[in-house]
């Protein structure tokens, strides 16, 4: 089992970096090419959610992204340090009715759970776990074949 950990300041610009790293590690771990877009989108949504929460509640605390090649699966954890008490609503959303109503989605601001609902629509295996003041969103994808190459344990920090 090998893990790459990325810690980044809660800035929107770093979400793209997180996506790029996640896609690169996923590819190296042997995730099917056809699934890489899902990994990229799910990691982006999870990191955007974490960055938004940190900017509002803990702007100086970095967001943690952990990417693990577990041999038969590829696991991603996005850990924030600023989630409110209630667990986010991960049920699927249908924005059609809200978007059509004159008062709905005023100014285009989507409901706060849309990001996590998108993740749950993309990822079959999503788990949410409380970690201290925040939440860990854990997403797992199966690896169909053998890994293309090992990933040495390492970490990076962006600020």
């Amino acid at each position: 089992m090998t893990t790459v950990t990325v810690r980044f300041s809660a800035l929107p610009a770093h979400v793209r970096t997180a996506r790029l790293v996640a896609a690169a590690v996923a590819r190296r771990s042997g995730v099917d090419e056809g699934v890489l877009d899902e990994v990229r989108l799910a990691v982006g949504e999870a990191c955007s959610r974490a960055v938004d929460l940190h900017q509002r509640h803990s702007p100086d605390v970095p967001v943690t992204l952990q990417l693990t090649d577990a041999g038969t699966s590829f696991r991603v954890e996005v850990v924030d340090a600023a989630s409110p008490d209630a667990e986010p609503d991960a049920s699927l959303v249908d924005l059609a009715e809200t978007a059509e109503s004159p008062d709905g989605l005023d100014g285009g601001a989507l409901p706060s759970n849309v990001g996590i609902a998108v993740i749950s629509g993309l990822v079959d295996d999503l788990a949410v776990e409380r970690r201290g003041d925040g939440l860990a969103l854990r997403m797992t994808w199966p690896l169909s074949g053998s890994a293309k190459g090992g990933v040495a344990p390492t970490s990076a920090t962006a600020s």
């Binding site: 996506r19 949504e45 699927l92 924005l95 989605l105 005023d106 285009g108």
Partner: protein
């Protein structure tokens, strides 16, 4: 790839060409473009997303906001998109029922409102 934006008039409609990644970092620029166009009286928009590499829920929010703005002036906002990976997020959120999505700019321009 960063976000690229341009627009051009086509009859009574305006085509907005978008390329690159629409995410939490770049979506404000797209929002600004749509707001400026509506402020300039362009109420019938065709957003060409064929060169978009990535779209997240922040980008969806900006498009929904644009739709709201043009509809407030009895306008329209049509999308051009054939990429499955982009269409998927519209389907997950039910927004395929809200946005008219076309295979080509020509189809979008020919559609009546």
């Amino acid at each position: 790839m960063d976000l690229s934006l341009s627009n051009r008039p086509e009859g009574d409609k305006t085509v907005v060409e978008v390329g690159g990644e629409i995410d939490v970092y770049t979506a404000p620029r797209l929002r600004e473009q749509l707001v400026d166009l509506v402020a300039d009286g362009k109420y019938h928009l065709v957003v060409d997303m064929e060169r978009v590499d990535f779209l997240d829920s922040t980008g969806l929010g900006v498009l929904v906001g644009g739709l709201k703005r043009v509809r407030a002036h009895d306008g329209s906002l049509r999308l051009v998109c054939t990429q499955e990976r982009i269409l998927k997020i519209f389907r997950i959120t039910g927004l395929t029922k809200v946005f008219p999505i076309h295979d080509s700019v020509e189809d979008a321009l020919a559609a009546s409102d």
